[in-house]
Symmetry: C2
Subunit: 215 residues, 2 copies
């Protein structure tokens, strides 16, 4: 698939590398693409970096992996223009520079804010509960158990595509319901950051949802 990743931070870079190794074409979007040509080439031979708009136009799936402070995410979302019916994956955690959660006037989560800004796109929340270290290690293994890749959204077909992509990265993909459940996934993203970094348990970590078959 042709995948755009908006943002060139460490976490998005890992995600791009993982997709490249799975045979996808990855195109990063950046505020300053001219400064990042060498950086992109180092990730993989088919990796490109261009403006947010060019990257989004190239892709079937656009993944938002920008920081929210300094309008990073909002500016990127404005720059890409209208994306009718395109799949827009919110992989962000809507945090301030001090890691405290952002609150939105008209939405209960970052993903719902993105859906409000892009009502023409099909928004799916995914990947935000997973550390870069876990992504870089095929979803991590703990005995028989793999870290869960939770995703949610309101468009069934878009969720199916994103769920398959999540599973491909090595995570155990789990449909976590409608887009309003993004609030819960964003809470888990914040808790992961707390446990891994503030509490010092490390990024070699994550959440698994475990269940035996329903009776």
């Amino acid at each position: 698939m042709n995948i755009a990743i908006l943002g060139t931070g460490n976490w998005g870079t890992v995600l791009g590398k993982v997709f490249t190794t799975r045979g996808h074409r990855v195109h990063f979007g950046s505020r300053t693409p001219e400064q990042k040509q060498e950086w992109a080439a180092a990730i993989g031979p088919s990796v490109r970096v261009s403006t947010y708009q060019q990257a989004a136009a190239f892709a079937e799936i656009v993944i938002v992996a920008t920081p929210w402070p300094d309008n990073g995410t909002v500016d990127a979302l404005r720059a890409i223009g209208s994306l009718p019916d395109k799949i827009l994956v919110d992989a962000t955690n809507a945090l301030r520079a001090d890691y405290s959660p952002l609150r939105f006037e008209q939405a209960n989560s970052g993903a719902e804010e993105i859906a409000r800004l892009h009502p023409e796109a099909r928004v799916v929340k995914a990947f935000n509960t997973v550390s870069g270290h876990t992504l870089a290690n095929d979803g991590l293994r703990f005995g028989e158990t793999t870290i869960t890749g939770f995703y949610c959204g309101d468009d069934a077909q878009a969720k199916q595509v994103v769920g398959a992509l999540v599973q491909e990265t090595g995570l155990s993909a789990l449909d976590a319901g409608p887009l309003k459940n993004a609030h819960h996934l964003e809470s888990m993203g914040q808790l992961l950051i707390y446990l891994a970094f503030s509490r010092g348990l490390g990024a070699d970590s994550g959440f698994a949802f475990l269940h035996h078959p329903a009776a």
Copy 2:
């Protein structure tokens, strides 16, 4: 220990049974204790049921396991009176009758609302991310992995006591930080309810936080 459980619902009943089998004395608090004497005797020979206030006065640890609709939780919290320095464990999920989350004017989570109503007590959030089925089965086993019992609070000594109690039930106890992180645990409680019941994955399920040792 002497443990009070406020509320006589199915989930609290399971918790009481687990504590009883671990050798603790359990005293339930109820709005209508006179109607519940036989019910209490069936749980275990040392189990008692009385008013909220009597149960709280008896115990070293008071566990809130009441429903929030119809002022269930707020009435119980009023009825127990002042509990200076006592450990007050919020095991609830602050939901409306239709399972949508309650919002508080002056608090970001049910646990913080409880701390606001009982500033003299030492409030710890615990158990709310765990189904009754998991509690009834020693924390469940999935190969080497056990469901995590997340807890959080602002009083280190109270957290230590509650953490030991969580671990005793068979869960893998994990200190999830300050009381403001109760917001995240309550989100996880809501997601568990969604996955287990709305999505139908079943109550034989739960979240595990997995981590390899930090480098």
